[in-house]
Amino acid sequence: MTSTISSTGQRHGTLGTSASRPDGVTKVQGGFAFSSDMWADNMLWGATLRSPHPYARVLAIDVSGAYAIDGVATVVTAADVPGKLTYGLIVQDQPVFAAIGDTVRYSGEPIAAVAADHPETCQRALAAIKVTYEVLTPVTDPEDCIAGTAAMIHPDGNIFRHQRIISGDTSIEGVIQVEGEYEIGMQDQAFLGLESALAIPDSGGQGLEMYVATQWLHEDRKQIADCLNLPEEKIRLVLGGVGGAFGAREDISLQVHTALLAMKAGRPVRISYGREESFYGHVHRHPAKIWMKHHADANGKIVKIESRMVFDGGAYCSTSPAVLINGITHTQGPYKCENAIVDGWAVRTNNPPCGAMRGFGVVQACFAHESQMEKLATAVGVSPVEIRLLNAMETGDRMITGQIMDSVAPVAQCIRETDAIPMPVPLENSADLRTIPGGTGLTAQPSNIRRGVGWGVSIKNLMYSEGFDDFSTARCRISNGVVTIKFATSEVGQGFTMLAQQIARTVLGVDEVILDTIDTQVGSAGSTSASRQTWMSGGAVQAACHAALAQLFDHVATKFEMTRSEIEIDGTDIMDRLTQRRVSVSDAISEIDIDCTEEYHHPPTEDLDKNGQGNCHVAYAFVAHRAVVDVDPELGLIKVVQIATAQDVGRVLNPLAAMGQIEGGIAQGLGLAVMEEIIVKDGKVRNPSFTDYLLPTFLDAPAVEMVFIEEHEPKSPLGAKGIGEPPCISVTPAIANAIRQAVGRELPRVPIRPYDICL
């Protein structure tokens, strides 16, 4: 079996290659089972009754009409919740259902759920439930909550969190001062795979199995178990096929409702939201108002930043306190500055609840600081590139939280590499009119168009913060010649399943890697959010594979008489460096059983003190964006021509996947810049559909020219940084700055609407 001459087999799909995704072909061909495709024998359909009022007292709920309808199996209300009546990621303040005597606090809040033999029957049953409301005046202005003049709309009060940052010498004044008041609209994650869950009760009714499209199986299980008053081990969660997440699946939506219906009916129940219900069913990006003032010396060096940030968290807490902290701790952006006074508020209103979305509070802060950098450049009389290079943060800098930047911080390199990307060709008179502002509407000729260039640079924390140990777990089994990896990491479309295979192939020298079902039969992986799974679950998979490899080497050393300390993986062989003896991995693993489970923990972090000081974040990533935008100043229509970007990625593990994350993030940031907004008036969503909530199409998407900055991050298990969030953060202000340059207006709000430009 061993030899000294056998050639080294070529491995495919290892780290650093554009390995193809295990789910790629089925997704492209339409064969992939998303959670809304799930089916079980004897399954009932579930549906949810929601409040039409943003704020009202529930005086009575009469469900008898629903039961009178043929085909209705069961109805659940707050009275049917056996355990905890509320849920929530940080604070459990959100009712499973609004109870009689309590209030509904946002338009769309669940009142009851029904299970029936057909979706149509469900709709008739919902219409037959009579709810009597005492309609109350909604609280919709966050400033009223801060001033304390608003009615208290929840027993926990109207303030989710208030946090200051007081740093360094706050008395210092800059000879140059620029300020502005900025506003960011409410963005939706707008994933394409709508919320869906299938719950199958165990026979005997002591537990259940659920298939859910979620970002964090174990956290869901905990909250479901609490509400159902079941031990966690009685609930098995399996990941249903997930069609995108972007933060919107971090909170509970239909999980508890589906489980309650299934347990009460004693039959499998599936709830699947439609697009409109999805707008009510999940949390959105916080709308925010940010005042910011930069003090600089005559050369433009920032000496102090003052800011006040107000995040509207809507009716329930969700992750508002953490979003706020992310916002205020990123006030300075990727720039050196130790002196700051920041005042941050996250408040409760009767607007739709807001929580996690790609960029998590940093998007809002970045829009403000990058708008400010443009003003600062103008005030100093230098270019947007010069002002940013002058202030670029470096490893070792002390930040306004007192934390020392100990990540690789190639900010200046990101800016320079972006600046070196060639500009697109100027707009030609013969241009295809569909490719200029107005697109297929043929509203303009090239002579109507002005072109602008704008910059945005950002810093984003990676992983969870403020003392939270968001560890991840993975298991590597080698049995009968087969390598199997198991984890509970939510694959939401980002490609972790592909990455896990790449890691296992690289560490173990095998081609075939089987992925076990993603479920709660292994330890938690934490959430697929905060740009953390490549680092955290990648670290766990790598650790599990290394643990298995160590046992394999022990076995090989004994069986094939190799020197334990000298053996290594060489291609698809195990080789003794001293003797050059080798055995193929496939032969070596053919008769052994190895089973290793490992956890990966990131270094611990701390809470902020009352002055906002503390080592609260784990690590950081950086990116620069330069936007070239064509604007029709008369009609206010725009076309983003090109985004040039250089991103600090640590190390590229899969070039094609990295490119996909970057292009997708840029499209999402473009959406926030010029079109994506949930319009809320008097507490009600006015555009809950893709007819009126506009996402960029291919004719809106720019050419993306990208450079990966590969400086391996020593703290990261794979040398790589998370790359999911940074692409969508500074592209928004880059586009806004380009439009500002083209039309000479301040445009302090995103999305920038046509009438903001031309009226």
């Binding site: 569909r434 043929l442 229509l637 319009i679 008036k681 046509p754």
Partner: protein
Amino acid sequence: MPVFIPRNVDELVDVFQNHPSAKLLAGGTDFMVEVNLHGRKPDTMISLRKVKELTEWSVRTSQTRITIGAGVPFAEMEFGEIARLVPALAQAARTVGSPQIRAAGTLGGNLGTCSPAGDSLPVLAALNATIHVIGPEGSRDIDFVDFMVGVKKNCLQTSEFVHSVSMPIVDGWQGYAKVGTRNAMVISTASACLVRDSDEGFVSIALGSVGPTIIRAHNAEAWLMKTTSLRAGAQLEASVAQEFGRRVSLESRPIDDHRSTADYRRHAIGVLAQRLLTRSFS
């Protein structure tokens, strides 16, 4: 729910007369949204799929008029002969939804729904199109301006349906432009079709999404004809185009809604009018 599938126009007339509450289904791009999103529950459906006559179009031998069946999908108007003869209709058709929607949605559907944002409707208004309708009492021809009577309201009587639309083949420039908040696949916030008949020396302009119906800017049209020559070879002064835009804007009657503001629509429709008129001279 009964579904009828007539095989020709005569059968369609019969079945619709016997089931006046039935809904007609062609592409379904408006109607199925009503069913799926807004819970609309039809009691009877009539599928138009097998009525071949509705999906045909023809040009009069004199080459002066084109008649397009109600069931012709937008995709068929984007390219080829229809696009050559009525380019503004092709431009409007291209702005309808996505390729899938354009393959399914029909001209008759736009007329049936009769939304002020219906993309093809300003073209029909600017060209003085005639709507050929058939019902139990026989057939009649209705001018487009009389056909559309309000927001999502037309003058079809019980059991009447749109058979086809006929419009002149104009010697001169025609064009369509539509403002939306993204560069494709968007509902219009303002749209306009301008037709310049170089033979007659006349310009007509019709406005979409800036009033309860499609609006013909008759006053601006009359002012323009009085002010400057519109015949082939004439020149246009920039100040005239600008004033034309201003006058067109005055004839719009837009509202504020979640898609835009009345002020923006009023402004945008003036810009479109000015630009379309300028284009018609270049």
